[in-house]
């Protein structure tokens, strides 16, 4: 469903992505792991067409996303969902209006049906009673849950998660991971999760790719990653300060 071929990207002369090649199949969730500043979020934004590559291609259903314009790009994007690191909730709208926004703008549903669905979905993530609050009145975990509902309420085919648990306590982090897993079971979207949550993320994905110095260092099932004899992979998943990774 998503194919990345020899992707390169530099910012101000600094190489961030250095020949990434990766495949994500329909209905599969891929965990993209790697140290900070290794280009995971940049890669994710390439997949969503928010950044254009210097070289290489990102193909979604065989279409090169960087070359799509206007209506074709909008049509493709209407199939995508993106959970931003900070949630990207519209801060001038209440939680209810935020979640209702894609339904109001992208569907022809009536206000009664929208209300019913928003209230139901907010209940599912433990946000009932918070509908009339503004994003600035919510905690980090609540923002992430509200943003998650906003992205998933219209059932996108492809879902990108940019560090969905960053800055949250372990319990809320686990809740978010469980939510992603539960929603994936209800409707099996294709997903890419950028995360540092190891090993939590291994419970909900079938495939993991580790990014290091702008390239895919190791790709495989969670078991293959855990049992990898690559010292960089081992140092990273164990969180050790001593080892070949020196940028910390």
């Amino acid at each position: 469903m998503i194919e990345i071929k020899d992707l390169h990207k530099s910012f101000a002369g600094v190489k961030v992505l250095n020949g990434i090649t990766l495949d994500v199949k329909k209905g599969e969730i891929l965990a993209l792991i790697g140290g900070s500043g290794q280009g995971k979020s940049v890669l994710l934004k390439h997949m969503a067409g928010l950044i254009k590559p210097d070289q290489g291609q990102v193909l979604v259903d065989g279409k090169e996303i960087a070359k799509l314009r206007g209506k074709t790009l909008s049509q493709l994007r209407r199939r995508l969902g993106f959970l931003f690191q900070g949630g990207a909730l519209f801060d001038s709208m209440t939680v209810f209006d935020n979640v209702a926004f894609p339904l109001r703008e992208k569907t022809k549903l009536g206000e009664t049906e929208i209300r019913k669905r928003v209230i139901h979905e907010l209940e599912q993530v433990g946000l009932s009673g918070e509908e009339e609050k503004y994003p600035t009145q919510l905690s980090g975990g609540m923002i992430k849950r509200a943003a998650l509902v906003r992205e998933l309420i219209w059932k996108p085919e492809i879902m990108f998660f940019d560090e969905p648990t960053a800055g949250l306590d372990p319990i809320i982090g686990q809740t978010i991971m469980n939510l992603i897993d539960a929603i994936h079971e209800r409707f099996p979207f294709t997903g890419i999760i950028v995360t540092h949550e190891i090993p939590k993320v291994f419970d909900i994905v079938k495939k993991v790719a580790m990014l290091h110095e702008g390239a895919i260092l190791k790709e495989g099932s969670p078991e293959e990653i855990v049992s990898s004899d690559d010292p960089i992979v081992q140092q990273f998943i164990k969180g050790e300060t001593e080892g070949p990774i020196t940028y910390y």
Binding site: A48, L50, L73, S74, Q75, L76, R77, R78, R79, L80, G81, F82, F84, Q85, G86, A88, L89, F90, D91, S92, F101, P102, E105, K106
Partner: protein, 263 residues
Amino acid sequence: MNESPLELIRRLGASFLFVADRVGMMGIFLAKAFLYCFIPPLKVSLILKRIRFIGLQSTLLIILTGAFTGMVLGLQGFYTLNRVGSTAFLGPAVALSIIKEMGPVITGFMVTGRAGSAIAAEIGIMRISEQIDAIELMGLQPFRYLVVPNLLAGIIALPLLTAMFDVVGIFGGYLVGVKLLGVSGGIYFGEMAASVTMDHVLEGLYKSLSFGVIITWVGCYKGYNTGTIGWGAEGVSKATTQSVVLSSVMILVWDYFMTSILF
């Protein structure tokens, strides 16, 4: 440090290209904004909200500045005209100054400071907190939600605010000229009616319309491109400052061209 002539030419060329690029980008931004004004659906509730913000919430400021501008003109005009014994022309002097120039320009400055800066900051914050990316990733066009409502609200609100400024300013001049300094009220308004034509009113109207476009266009453009001129709070602060400075300068430059070419 001595620079070779070639290096100087290269730097001049680079600066010219940079400015040309920015002007081109701004032009494309405005063309795109106008294009979306004509492609439905228009977000009417958002347009009304922005009219409320740019127009209604600026009224007190406009009344205050209009009144004092008219009063100062009444005072200055009276003493100048009194020297040549022509205080009868105080009414036309105040009215023409306000309707043709001061009304649109000062209203433009006030709205730039109050609403133009806020538009740039609001959109800038949406840019750095990825809210604009979120709209794009929903397959929606951010211009419909962020730019078009502001642009149309500016076009609607500025002429109305200017008209308010004009009326209040003329009464400010009346208050000082007639009530304080003793010019006859009949003469003040009578001479004004004889001198001010519909063309003068239209001149002010066209100017205020174009200033409405300039203020919202520059505010939206600077906010929308916050990422390209520095991230974070500093980026928003730069966008806001640049928006106010550029709008103010553009209002004066455009005012000159409109006055000299069109009228």
